[in-house]
């Protein structure tokens, strides 16, 4: 859990993904389209993958990946990010971190 929180707070926009997950790739593309370049951690390449998955689930994310953190706080998985974007709330959240 500490590892997840440490990595999540290191930078403004952090996404936990798996290298095989194409939906994670899609979420990353979306962020880039609005001018943000998130830090991506591929947890399947991490030896602590299983613990990190559990930690992410315990934090309330309904899918282990993609798990999106903005400003150190968990925003959610793909569903939440898409809803936020359609409602117009995603870009204001990202404003401090845009390039």
């Amino acid at each position: 859990m500490e590892k997840v929180m440490r990595l999540a707070t290191e930078k403004g926009v952090v996404i936990f993904t798996k290298s095989s997950c194409c939906l994670c790739y899609a979420v990353n593309v979306l962020f880039q389209e609005v001018g943000v370049y998130p830090v991506v951690h591929e947890i399947d390449k991490d030896p602590d993958c299983k613990e990190m998955e559990k930690a992410i689930k315990r934090l309330g994310c309904n899918a282990p990946v993609p798990a999106v953190f903005i400003g150190g706080r968990l925003v959610g998985s793909t569903n939440e990010v898409m809803s936020l974007h359609l409602s117009g709330s995603l870009i204001p959240l990202l404003r401090p971190y845009r390039m």
Partner: protein
Amino acid sequence: MDIYEPLQQVSMWGDSFKVEGGLNSIASPMLLVNTTTSMENKSEYIPHEPSEPSEVNQETTNKDVSKVLRRLAQNREAARKSRLRKKAYVQQLETSRLKLMQLELEIGRARKQGMCTDNALDTTFMGSPETINPVGIVAFEIEYGNWVDENHRRNEELRNVFQANASEVQLGQVVQNVLNHYTDLFRLKAEAAKADVLYLISGVWKPSVERLFLWIGGARPSQLLNLIVPQLDPLTEQQLASIKKLHLSSQQAEDALSQGLEKLQQSLVQDMAVDPFSATNHGFQMAIAIRKFEALESFVSQADHLRRETLIYMSRILSTHQAARGLIALGEYFHRLRTLGSRWTSRPCDSVISPRITP
């Protein structure tokens, strides 16, 4: 007495149309009301002054008669509609039964082929034959057919309420009714995706013309907006700005999902295009590929999520009146596409030899 004859008819009809539970519940309170009135006529009122109560009884009797006549007419109409619905349902069942038999034949053939052609395949990695659920797909086709009919009915209801200048509250309820029904469709599609995502994403269950515009198993959300917005004049400046933002967000989200899907397709190609002379275990490659098909489910789910959210956010930006207009336009558009599709498939073929295309 006159009132008894209609009563007898009502109870007969209540018996023969047991399919419509609603009919029975309409019929019985009427029986109760009229029997109590007649009971009072016979026993209680005789010892008392006959003039006043009998005048009251005459009035209530007349009202009751017209109520009964109205109920009878409503019952007849409901029964007629019930018969039509039953006929349509039976026809759909027949078509689906034929399709099911065809599918079972195909699966039997495919299984035989699969077992004979490649002995090098490790069959434990092939995935069990139960992964594809043909009954789930046939069930979906029936339910989708029903959904289309119900959608048409709800859109007609919306159109009628809209044109009748109903109150905003009433119109709002009917608008919500139509929106909820679109949510039902996405639930149906999710179950079908679990049964066979390749089938769902191919759009083969949609009318042919709609397939032209297919994007991840359905219509593009931004395209839905393009359909609705021109019907909505006049829009306020604020509404126009919100719609523009929604349209842009929708396009960006679609773009992201499309790119993710492309990446999935590329990796599938790489999985299957292995060196034919290498000694690798093909069964293992196929197991990986099958897991990727399952990842497709989440893409379809996200695409439907976008469609649903687009409709919901749009309905929030608009007034009830505008939302009604928009939904009516949307329903009408898909109805026309369907009609166009039927005309296309039933157009006369030039050559006598070429086979007729059946939808």
